[in-house]
């Protein structure tokens, strides 16, 4: 059985983007934009259900960036009074930005990280939520665990990493009875020069984050060549590993121990819509050469980088390809 599903922030519609621009110019209120995004979330949920995707997400349409709601919940504001004023920082490999969390002390769980209001619209066995991985959070934040030049202070970094893993586990346990799938997104592990040095702690952080979680878990890696993390990558304590074949040398997975892999066969950085036949071919090549013990077809990274209309065409073909593979 080949699965297919989404894995991160989905693009907002042109109407919602226009409403955002109007908000900036004072011509629309936050509440109006919020209502519009709620409506679009429900539309996206319905689309995923209609396409019979194996898991359904809310598309994180209300997230300003892939860390902000978490940062706001945890109060990681640095000098400023709110998360919307933390320094603006580019997400490498993209033309998108995030507000850098600032860790100035031990992080405590103040309130829920995830807004689960949309779960009610999805059958429990299909509910999926997405969180940043412990490493992504620690690596992309600033504060006590970083030197003045932005490099990491190894010991404090490991403390922050494990501290955040505990926070994630708290949230994952809270949601574990409500959802079937928890995915951790990691846009930096594959390119980080420090990953190998910190590997033991990275593994520990995922063990902590996933401890006593009944839901299926995955770690989706994008940006950078994840094959450089082999063979340890396949020993990480998650059920599935997600890989971006545009930045990862898949040939290095030949002959490795079989794992459930999520392969990013549709490219979120290009408007070129992959044909169903191409996706099927890609999947068959992976099955034949890598022999994973499970396969999910996913975008190579969150689809937020293409217009919504293009993203919809891409996932329609993704769903058709999975259906075609499963019907044979």
């Amino acid at each position: 059985m080949v699965e297919a599903y989404l894995n991160g922030i989905f693009p907002r519609s042109e109407k919602a983007l226009e409403a955002g621009s109007n908000l900036l110019k004072g011509r629309e209120t936050k509440e109006q934009l919020f209502r519009l995004l709620e409506e679009e979330t429900l539309e996206l949920i319905k689309l995923q259900q209609d396409l019979n995707l194996d898991y359904v997400t809310d598309g994180q349409l209300l997230w300003q960036d892939f860390l902000r709601p978490i940062v706001a919940s945890l109060g990681l504001h640095g000098k400023s009074s709110n998360a919307d004023e933390n320094p603006v920082t580019r997400q490498v490999y993209t033309n998108t930005f995030y507000r850098k969390p600032v860790v100035s002390d031990k992080i405590n769980f103040h309130k829920n990280l995830v807004d689960e209001r949309f779960l009610a619209y999805v059958k429990k066995e299909k509910r999926k939520i997405i969180l940043p991985s412990p490493f992504a959070f620690a690596y992309l934040s600033d504060g006590i665990h970083k030197n003045e030049d932005g490099t990491i202070k190894k010991d404090t970094f490991m403390e922050v990493l494990l501290n955040f893993a505990e926070i994630l586990n708290h949230e994952a346990k809270r949601l574990s009875n409500e959802v079937s799938f928890i995915q951790f997104n990691d846009p930096c592990l594959a390119y980080s020069a420090e990953a190998k040095i910190l590997w033991g702690s990275i593994k520990d952080s995922l063990s902590i984050a996933t401890e006593n979680i009944s839901a299926t878990t995955s770690l989706h890696l994008y940006n950078g060549d994840a094959s450089l993390l082999l063979p340890g990558l396949l020993d990480l304590p998650v059920d599935r590993i997600g890989i971006d074949p545009y930045t990862t040398d898949l040939r290095q997975f030949f002959g490795t121990s079989p794992r459930f892999l999520e392969i990013g066969v549709i490219n979120s950085k290009n408007s070129l819509v992959e044909g169903t036949g191409t996706i099927v071919t890609f999947a068959n090549q992976v099955i034949e050469k890598i022999k994973p013990n499970g396969l999910a077809l996913v975008p190579n990274r969150p689809l937020e980088l293409v217009p919504r209309s293009v993203a919809i065409k891409k996932i329609e073909n993704l769903a058709k390809a999975a259906h075609s593979l499963n019907s044979k």
Binding site: E18, G20, T96, V265, V286
Partner: protein, 390 residues
């Protein structure tokens, strides 16, 4: 024109006034005209108010397409004068027009380059969006797209003009790559690295076929200084060499002062590749975004300026365009804070290397906030200068 120590300069776009935006759509209302009158009085442009109001009114009434296009062009020119005067009145030494005729730094040039088709809007940051295009054929030169704008401004000011032009690498990185993607389509194992190869082909073609001919046309018409904007420069840390290569190709053999603006990046990755940039007059980077608002010229106070160490460490040539205004907050930096940021930078690199500017374009802020920030920037530069004159 002789520039003072710590020359102040603009770095990019300003917000477009509502009378200009709605006026072009034929939808300017009473409140927009009120804003026009207020700003024009502030900028000592009162004598132009009747002209602009008449233009706005005529745009509402005009039915003939050709006549309408001409009226719209004239209103855009009025907003260019507004942009120039806005920066002059704020007291800046090196100016442009706040990019009043341009839709946006990507969409505007792409529309005038052969080989691209627009696909739709995506989000860049928070609620900021931009319109993305796909490269569907080899990029080609259609026309010198900033020439008309520059010619108009040259005749409208005595100030030194610095013309911003979006760089080849950024245009390539922000575009979808259907043409080279299709041309080089591999199997699933060949996807690895394919995007990089495709992007390289597109970026080099843009520098050679489009950006260089554009800069040449500006130089042939009297331009002395172009600022190549490369906000995408650190998108892929291992592609900084390509940014350098496209910069060099874009200005190859041209007699012009060429500088580069980058922002919101991990600047460490530029070194040492950036040292290969040929004759780069100035590196204008963002710093205030990550700096503390505390006064002081100590290293501890100036947390946002640690990147300057890299210039010293690598003995990099060229000047620094020092970002002293955070363009993402309404906080109006006091002149004393601007002064301390300048003094800290000059203590590290030498006073004669420091130019003073906002972190990036101020179009993220209202005109009121942008003006107040710029005025204080100019005052801050004066305060810093006075330390050297004593």
């Amino acid at each position: 024109m002789t520039l003072p120590l710590f020359p102040t300069q603009e770095i990019g776009s300003l917000q477009k006034p509502s009378w200009r935006v709605k006026g072009l759509l034929g939808k300017a209302a009473e409140e927009d005209l009120k804003e026009l009158s207020l700003w024009y009085a502030k900028l000592h442009l009162q004598d132009r108010i009747p002209v602009v109001k008449e233009l706005i009114n005529n745009i509402k009434l005009e039915k003939d397409k050709t006549a309408l296009a001409s009226l719209k062009q004239r209103l855009k020119e009025e907003s260019q004068i507004f942009g120039l005067k806005f920066l002059e009145e704020a007291g800046l030494d090196i100016i442009y027009d706040g990019e009043q005729t341009r839709v946006e730094m990507y969409e505007d040039p792409i529309g005038d380059i052969g080989g691209f088709e627009f696909c739709g809007y995506v989000r860049a940051f928070d609620v900021m969006k931009y319109k993305k295009a796909a490269c569907v054929a080899e990029p080609s030169f259609k026309k010198p797209y900033h020439l008309e704008e520059f010619r108009f401004l040259k005749n409208a000011t005595q100030h030194e003009l610095k013309i911003p032009i979006t760089g080849a690498y950024t245009l390539a990185e922000w575009s979808y790559n259907e043409y080279y993607g299709k041309k080089n389509q591999p199997d699933v194992f060949g996807l690895f690295g394919s995007e990089k190869k495709d992007r390289r082909e597109m970026a080099i073609a843009l520098a050679r076929n489009v950006i260089r001919p554009n800069i040449k046309s500006l130089v042939d018409n009297g331009a002395k200084w172009v600022q190549i904007d490369e906000p995408a420069a650190t998108t892929y840390p291992d592609e900084v060499g390509l940014v350098v290569e496209t910069f060099n190709e874009s200005v190859r053999g041209l007699d012009v002062k060429a500088s580069i603006h980058m922002c919101f990046s991990d600047y460490k990755v530029f070194f040492p590749a950036i040292l290969e940039m040929k004759n780069c007059f100035q590196y204008a980077w963002e710093f205030a975004n990550t700096d503390s608002a505390a006064l002081g010229t100590s290293r501890k106070a100036r947390t946002g300026y640690k990147t300057l160490d890299l210039f010293k460490e690598h003995k990099a040539g060229g000047n620094i365009g020092l970002g002293v205004l955070n363009v993402h907050t309404d906080f109006i930096e006091p002149p004393e804070l601007v002064r301390d940021r300048i003094l800290y930078a000059s203590s590290l690199l030498g006073a004669d290397k420091i130019y003073v500017n906002p972190d990036c374009g101020l179009r993220t802020r209202t005109l009121d906030v942008a003006f107040a920030k710029l005025k204080n920037m100019v005052e801050g530069a004066k305060l810093a200068r006075s330390q050297y004159n004593h």
